[in-house]
Symmetry: C2
Subunit: 103 residues, 2 copies
Amino acid sequence: MTQFDQVSVVKQANVYFDGKCVSHTVLFADGTRKSLGVIFPASLTFGTAAPETMEINAGHCRIRLAGEETWAEYGAGQSFDVPGDSSFDIEVTEALDYVCHYR
Amino acid sequence: MTQFDQVSVVKQANVYFDGKCVSHTVLFADGTRKSLGVIFPASLTFGTAAPETMEINAGHCRIRLAGEETWAEYGAGQSFDVPGDSSFDIEVTEALDYVCHYR
């Protein structure tokens, strides 16, 4: 599936970390929400409110969830889950194109 | 209007000029298309295929259309038209949040 149909999209982008992350918010009829975005090569820490699933369309990164010592690598076609009210460290080695699903 | 309703949105972003421009494509039921994006501070030249209207949500820029000598300034709440099969120079002085309408 290359697109989301019958959705609403917020006109204004979300820009984080001085432009290292740019996303647009998509609203679904069932009340759920996703963000579509790009993260450029950088080492960043993202906080979460709701639990998230990060689905990677393109690019490559390493992830370390809060409280863990080990890093895991993810690339195109893979995804990882992050608990709510938490955070994760991310090292993007090749620009990421992602869909973030808020659960 | 802060959002577009009953649309499709392409999951993968468009990244131009080494990340200076990031956009997502929105498809409308009437067959028209817009892109929602951000342009970070830079001096760039964009080419057009279809005629475009650039609507600025936030930020500030100077624009010079192909074949013109004068620059015009645009900011939040303003828009400008660009002919098809043409180009324009843009100097973004404050990160632009825009909607590009393809006409």
